[in-house]
Amino acid sequence: MESSEQELLTLLQQNDPRGYEILIEEYADFVFRAAYRVTQNEQDAEDVLQESFLLVYRNAGSFRGDSKFSSWLYRIASNTALDLLRRRKRKEGEDVSFDDADEQDEPFDELADGNASQPEDALLQTESLDLVREALESMPEKLRSAYLLFMVDGLSAPEVAAELNIQLSAAKLRIHRAKLFMAEYFAQVKVEEK
């Protein structure tokens, strides 16, 4: 863990208000973004942000420092967001498993290594922010989180796996499927426009 993260954690574990001031200033955007990637809704993302910080406030003492502090925070935010969606879906009587990607049945040695494919080929064809937003909203949550960590945050596939606490093979597969999803989405839009 980096020294600044270690210092912050010490302040949090001592329940020093300065630690929480630093936490908000340096990590609120990061947590809000992580929550938004799951919920695709700013109001829900704000609820998740508040809930995640309250969880940190209640559980800072339980963080053992095995992983990066930011990874721990990311997991808290995405799990809280998933819980929110599960609660809502359960209330509406929908399936709550989120098992939208079968991660056992494809070879993935060549996937998501950065060099094996050109992921934005589909994206390169569009200049519409609304369209990209719609595509991301339609993408299954599991794929979206992995895809955005890889594409926007510039994480490598092993880093995505660590961030999401999943196997490397599963991370590669999710990224690969997300790219296919985007390509298919834009192709479909093109067909509908004709």
């Binding site: 208000p17 609120a28 809000f32 973004r33 704000e46 955005l148 510039g154």
Partner: protein
């Protein structure tokens, strides 16, 4: 070694900032001399910027402020020291809130005007459709009346023909019987004469049927003409309704543009909201 072949597949990873320092250096040296790679990289970068903008909304000052307040609420319950909320954040949240309220007012105003415009156009469409329906209805009534008259004529014609033929045949048969009684010799040819009368009556009936058919044809023609009139009126009224709907759609588009303009102004206003100066040169 062909550097372009090695570098080109790495451009997307370069754009994502996901290369090692050595790889970055290799890509950057090649970019200096390769126009194709420069163009491809620019495309990757703009696509990624689009993706970033679509996936990462910024945390508004009000939301950050509410996060401070939420944590302080929890700490307050346990009587723990509260977090110090930055003055700049409070000022920024206040300025953004004010700009949002003003913009919301403008948008409500624009929406009200737009709703009025759309409502008026909708009313016009309904009026035009009503007028069209009334006019088509009139034509249909007229055509229906004509058809009924022709049907009545056909029935009358048929009844009259049957009556006439029957009457003539009865009179002629009576004459043949009377002549047969007076003159027994004529009785020999009576069946033949009666048959001839029957044939004549048949011919009369056939003539009558032809008249009925002609009358029917006239009726059918009249119905067809009536239908054409109704259809033409329908098309005419449909055209007017369509025109009216187009006008309404045009108004709705104008209304939408007005609201969008107002929203755009509002978003700009909120984005550019600056904390007010407190008089000492401090925001």
């Amino acid at each position: 070694m062909n550097t372009h072949k090695t570098v080109f597949p790495k451009l997307e990873a370069y754009a994502r900032n996901a290369l090692t320092i050595d790889e970055r250096t290799q890509v950057e040296s090649h970019l200096l001399v390769c126009q194709g790679c420069q163009t491809a990289l620019a495309k990757y970068q703009s696509a990624l910027a689009l993706l970033k903008a679509a996936s990462a909304p910024t945390l508004a000052p009000q939301r950050r402020l509410r996060l401070y307040e939420k944590l302080n609420e929890e700490r307050g319950k346990k009587q723990e020291a509260l977090l110090k909320i930055p003055e700049a954040l409070i000022a920024q949240a206040r300025a953004t809130g004010k700009a949002m309220a003003e913009s919301a007012g403008d948008v409500v105003k624009a929406s009200g005007a737009a709703a009025g415009l759309v409502g008026a156009s909708g009313g016009q469409v309904v009026k035009t459709m009503g007028r069209g329906a009334k006019s088509v209805g009139k034509k249909m009534l007229r055509a229906g009346k004509k058809s009924a008259n022709h049907a009545k004529d056909m029935v009358d014609e048929a009844a009259q023909t049957a009556l006439d033929s029957g009457h003539i045949l009865t009179v002629e048969t009576a004459q043949v019987v009377e002549e047969s009684l007076k003159n027994p010799l004529k009785a020999v040819s009576a069946p033949l004469r009666l048959a001839g009368k029957g044939v004549k009556a048949g011919v009369r009936m056939a003539q009558g049927s032809l008249k009925i058919s002609a009358s029917g044809l006239k009726g059918v023609l009249s119905v067809a003409k009536g239908s054409l009139d109704v259809g033409a009126e329908g098309v005419k009224q449909g055209g007017e309704t369509a025109k009216s709907m187009l006008d309404a759609a045009q108004s709705a588009l104008e209304a939408r543009n007005q609201v969008a303009k107002s929203l755009g102004k509002g978003i700009k206003k909120v984005a550019n909201a600056k904390p007010e100066d407190d008089g000492d040169g401090n925001a």
